[in-house]
């Protein structure tokens, strides 16, 4: 017997585990008849998941948390038993801003603290000259992109609410907006950074893995009520997604995966651009300069698919830091409860490995600035940061 499932997604490379699970027949092998629906906004994905049009969705990790807390919208408890991707975003800046930042750089431009301090000097010079504040685009108020941009610039002394404009832009509009000067920079997922570089309108300044070594990005999200009622269907979906993630992570399969993802009903951009993302080998400037990173986007490898509640706590801490909600111990508990490693383990066991403490980070996220993060003392952690909208 097959179970019909409706799943919504946004055309981004980190939806790949879901798309491949369906297209390669991994979902069908689990007895699931999945209908994938490509959506145009995160608001639509969230709403259609909330009211039951979708059984599951490719969702921004912070939206799953915000929905469970009732922030910005109706409260619908969501659970995330599987990470669809870690990292995968990049900060891309216009050629004009790139020249300005490089003119102020004092140190290694690969170091995000150095670039953020250079940005602070650019911002100060513009203010002195009476120029308009710089505008940065990101994808959603409750998005990793929003928090990553803010974390980065604040570390250099730029207040994201006072010193620049931070605006929401739908990902497909990002590149045009950079080209026509509507924004000076943006933080977005793949493939849009590469598209901007290819068109000669942007330079990739940072991979977000420069800012956070491990950042939970998109999750497989289902309603908690649905998860309680359909544990076996959910387990089947987790198995299918896991098989797809392992398929994608095999270097020999990446070209095939990229060609599937490139199709117009899925992501609808050139397969070669998608392959760069999967390989972590990106062209970062219009002159053709390449940067390789083993941490650009993780789909399943290094235990990336296993949800880590400490990641959810970090995202909640950002909501508190930037004034989207007040610090409340019960809310923190709810936020951490959205990420469900227990469901992951019950389905897949520990065979795929525990999350490693990889890279330079000594904690779950490995941020380039501030003290090590611990969910036990968010107030103490936030107190270490000078800039924020948070009132203790």
């Amino acid at each position: 017997m097959t179970t019909p499932l409706h799943i919504g997604f946004i055309p981004l490379v980190d939806a790949s585990a879901l798309i491949i699970a369906v297209d390669k027949g991994f979902a069908a092998a689990e007895g699931l008849d999945v209908t994938l629906t490509r959506e145009v906004s995160w608001s639509n994905v969230r709403d259609k998941l909330n009211i039951g049009h979708f059984d599951a969705a490719h969702l921004l990790a912070p939206v799953a948390i915000a929905s469970s807390l009732g922030l910005g919208h109706v409260k619908v408890p969501i659970v995330a038993p599987f990470n669809l991707g870690l990292n995968g975003n990049a900060i891309t800046i216009s050629p004009g801003l790139h020249a300005a930042i490089m003119g102020e750089i004092d140190g290694d431009p690969r170091n995000p603290l150095v670039t953020a301090q250079a940005l602070a000097r650019v911002v100060a010079a513009r203010r002195k000259a009476g120029a308009e504040p710089l505008t940065f685009g990101m994808t959603f108020p409750f998005s990793t992109h929003n928090y990553q941009l803010r974390f980065w610039m604040a570390a250099g002394g730029v207040d994201p609410d006072e010193d620049v404009h931070l605006v929401v832009l739908p990902p497909p509009y990002m590149v045009d907006s950079l080209a026509n000067g509507h924004v000076d920079a943006f933080c977005v997922g793949a493939p849009w950074n590469s598209v901007a570089v290819d068109l000669g309108v942007g330079h990739i300044l940072h991979f977000v893995s420069d800012i956070l070594v491990r950042a939970a990005e998109k999750v497989l999200a289902v309603r908690q009520s649905w998860s309680d009622k359909n544990p076996e269907v959910l387990a089947a979906l987790i198995r299918a997604a896991s098989r797809a993630a392992q398929f994608i992570e095999q270097p020999d399969n990446r070209s095939e995966a990229a060609h599937i993802l490139a199709r117009p009903e899925y992501i609808g951009v050139n397969a070669e651009v998608i392959l760069r993302t999967l390989d972590g080998r990106l062209k970062i400037s219009p002159d053709g300069k390449i940067r390789e990173s083993s941490r650009y986007l993780l789909v399943g490898r290094e235990g990336a698919a296993r949800p880590d509640p400490a990641q959810a706590a970090w995202l909640y801490a950002q909501m508190v830091r930037w004034g989207q909600t007040a610090m409340r111990p019960d809310a923190l508990k709810t936020a951490m409860g959205v990420f469900r490693p227990d469901l992951y383990d019950a389905t897949l066991g520990h065979s795929l490995g525990q999350p490693g403490k990889s890279g330079s980070g000594s904690d779950a996220v490995g941020a380039f600035a501030g003290p090590a993060f611990t969910p036990d003392d968010i107030a103490g952690h936030l107190a270490a940061f000078e800039i924020g909208r948070w009132k203790p």
Binding site: H53, G72, P141
Partner: protein, 196 residues
């Protein structure tokens, strides 16, 4: 309803026809203060300057995410904004998502004043999709007619048939193969292209 007491409604829609249908319905129902925004650049700035009580946006519009930014604490926002009608009103949310529209309501507008706006909006959106479907059907019927006529012409020329005989041949083939006559006509066109 006087102009002052009528809530100000902004329609964000890139489809001018659907926006016009909606605007007309709202005006007929006595909502006289209606503004249509079709330009998505600087959308928030436009909305702030219009300062509406209700914002309606179609679900096919990626700029919905831009509107979500209005929920956030920001000095640019005059008033907090709540979405849809009420946490408890699941039926309204469902109906509006089904119709393909979403409503953002500025806090402070009473629930009983929002309901008729949303209901009207949902019924107009549904009417528009019906119209669109009919239009699409008419269009494809016309297309099919053209294909059949061209296939008829080919049969008449190649097999020396009259127009009626050519049509009867296609119809009987369609019936025998359990296909639509349009499909048979299309295969004739494809075959004749290949055999050129």
């Amino acid at each position: 309803m006087s102009a002052e007491s009528s809530p100000k409604i902004v329609i964000v829609d890139e489809s001018p026809i659907r926006a016009a249908i909606l605007e007309e319905g709202l005006r007929e129902a006595g909502f006289t203060r209606v503004v249509h925004i079709s330009e998505m650049q600087s959308l928030l700035a436009r909305i702030y300057s219009e300062d509406p009580d209700v914002i309606l946006i179609d679900l096919e519009n990626p700029s919905r995410d831009v509107l979500e930014a209005m929920f956030q604490v920001s000095r640019a926002v005059r008033r907090p904004i709540a979405m849809f009608v009420d946490q408890s009103d699941a039926a309204s949310i469902q109906a509006s998502v089904d119709a393909g529209v979403s409503a953002y309501i500025v806090d402070g507008l009473k629930k009983e004043r929002i309901k008729p706006i949303l209901d009207l909006c949902i019924s107009r959106f549904n009417a528009f999709s019906k119209l669109q479907d009919e239009l699409d059907r008419t269009k494809s019927a016309l297309e099919e007619r053209k294909v059949i006529d061209r296939a008829k012409g080919i049969l008449m020329k190649v097999k020396g048939l009259t127009e009626d005989e050519a049509y009867v041949l296609m119809r009987s083939t369609a019936m025998r193969e359990k296909k639509k006559i349009g499909e048979i006509a299309q295969s004739i066109l494809t075959a004749s292209e290949l055999l050129k």
